[in-house]
Symmetry: C2
Subunit: 377 residues, 2 copies
């Protein structure tokens, strides 16, 4: 398909969505790059690093690879520092280009390294998880976590290109696919009721990694995200709707410890919670709430939130970046395909927590997370 | 005087240059700021913190103060981290505004904290050294140092305003004034021969902190810098001329250890070295080189560079950010008031080092530096 273009204040950049894109990655490398730096994790580099380096070889540019440990808990200032150390020891200059090969953790951290190395060098996003392909790789949000909150240290910094190879999803564990699909249905919920319905009809194909279904869904999500980012690059308004489910979701991730649930799983559960809250605040019809819950279940994600204790829930949500003047701002749904950002009365939030929090078997989830997060990066 | 305006991709911002500006600082605070965070060091906060807080009180906004240790060696990722910790512990949101009260170290580090806290919040520059007033506070270059190089981790991130109170220079040690004047004459050298001549005629008044002379010089420097930054915000071309003397100067700072010489002293010496190299590469007349040397001496700065060993010199200059594809790019003077950026033959650089490096009494300078840097921040 034709590239999706993202317009930003610093110009526009393309999202290429193709099977086999990794083999043609050289087409996206800026001609005047002095050196190329692949940042990846052991698992993803083991699967695709060699293919990438082979595809880059004809350019005749020096390529170095920086491998960082795997998982959300390593998306930290400490790991970032090890990236700076390597790049400075190798005397990489301002025309070096970073290639972020991995999932959201790698993309966010490599992007932030690019944003801050010598006050900013260019980088390319090469997302290898479904979640990164439809969400984090597009739009220039880069960050690392802080013990007091997720993505608290970061920058808005756009890549020069996003290269999505649909073939890499074949090696993705089923649980990661489910987590990625949470963000897919989010786009339908906030922006495109027809796409939400398409997801309902095609959920079996999506879960089964049907190539045509995935290509269509990824392309549609990237188009929708590109529109939103182009209108509001720095998240001063419209862009905040992309955070549907994320205020609840971030609290789950922070409360359980990052990496216990996958980000997409926490967001999926947060979609259900946001729908329930929308019912209380904006009269979202009960049948629409039920459609959200059913689709979250159908993609294989949890629809019951873990019990963090109600005070802890509110405190964790308070720490979210969308807070303004101490007031929590929620993304809410007046209907499927429409979203608004606003505060919500505390009693409605408490009712929502009471109705959506349950006795989830976190221990088992946690063990599974540690097992499968390895391939996410 | 009327504010100087700096035009950037994100809009324009004013530089206010007035005696007593600190007392009127409330005029520059954005109306929708939720909370204000003063970042300063113990010495500057001791001198001006109370005045600033008093001037902010009528706004009725909560004000917190973060004090960081004093000096270039603390412009580090570690110190930055303590700033993040405090801001996150206080749950500052995206509408909080940082006020950077201090010299270049505070401005660079507080600016970088603003650039990266929750992907960017607003900040105001309130420079209290001459060097910061004419140089680092204008233009949005923010950074911290890394053991392998100065300002290696940073971002281009513009303040919402720059507020320059000329009165604060009265408490500045003479050595800091000299260091600041190095950047003043730099503007004449690269952009404005008439201003360079004005500096030659008025150097005694400048060194004596004559208020009218300082106000004129600071205003002219800010105008010149605003023009350059407006044309080339991200230093992809023209802006690099502002680095005249800095390739040599950074090598001195890194080679002796940051803080041993003041930044402005290292730049002053670098101006002489760049002039000598310009003579060899671009036939800058010998009498012009001598004028540079004489003015550097007249402002009270060193015109002889420390002996770092020739290999070490070249290695340190190689690590500078202006390197491209391993080639060192120098800012050179075809004549006074004109500058170009280009590579230089290695033998000419070696000759320049042989002619400009001498037996400088660094020990004494170092002791004085530790004594007086306290007031710089």
């Amino acid at each position: 398909m034709a590239p999706v273009n993202v317009a930003t204040s610093a110009g526009q950049y393309p999202i290429h969505i193709e099977p086999g894109r990794l083999q043609r990655i050289a087409q996206s490398v800026p001609g005047n790059a002095t050196r190329l730096v692949i940042i990846s994790n052991p698992v993803v580099d083991g699967l695709y690093g060699a293919v990438l380096r082979q595809a880059l070889a004809p350019l005749g540019k020096p390529v170095m690879t920086i491998i960082v440990p795997d998982g959300e808990s390593f998306k930290s200032l400490d790991t970032l520092n090890t990236i700076y150390d390597r790049m400075l020891a190798e005397k990489l200059d301002r025309r070096a280009v970073i290639l972020a090969l991995g999932g959201g953790v790698i993309g966010d951290m490599a992007g932030f390294a690019a944003a801050t190395y010598m006050r900013g060098i260019r980088y390319m996003q090469i997302p290898t998880t479904l979640l990164a392909q439809v969400d984090s790789s597009v739009g220039g949000k880069t960050a690392v976590n802080h013990p007091l909150g997720k993505n608290m240290i970061g920058a808005f910094y756009q890549p020069v290109s996003v290269d999505i190879d649909i073939d890499v999803l074949r090696t993705l564990p089923a649980r990661e696919v489910s987590a990625g699909l949470a963000e897919v249905i989010k786009y339908g919920l906030i922006l495109d009721a027809a796409f939400f319905e398409w997801c309902e009809r095609n959920v079996a194909q999506l879960v089964a990694l049907d190539a045509d279904a995935l290509a269509y869904a990824i392309g549609r999500c990237c188009e929708l995200k590109a529109q939103v980012v182009s209108e509001d690059e720095k998240e001063t308004g419209l862009r905040a709707i992309l955070n549907l489910g994320h205020t609840f979701g971030h609290a789950i991730e922070a409360g359980l410890g990052f990496g216990t649930w996958l980000h997409g799983e926490a967001v999926a559960c947060g979609l259900v919670q946001a729908a329930v809250l929308s019912g209380k605040v904006l009269d979202l019809p009960a049948e629409d709430i039920e459609r959200v819950r059913q689709l979250v279940r159908a993609i294989g994600c949890p629809d019951v939130a873990p019990d963090l204790g109600q005070d802890s829930w509110l405190d964790l949500m308070q720490g979210d970046k969308k807070t303004e003047g101490g007031e929590i701002r929620y993304v809410l749904l007046p209907g499927i395909g429409q979203a608004v950002v606003q505060a919500a009365p505390l009693d409605k939030v408490q009712e929502t927590l009471e109705e959506t929090v349950g006795n989830v078997t976190i221990e088992r989830e946690s063990a599974r997370a540690r097992e499968t997060i390895a391939s996410g990066g």
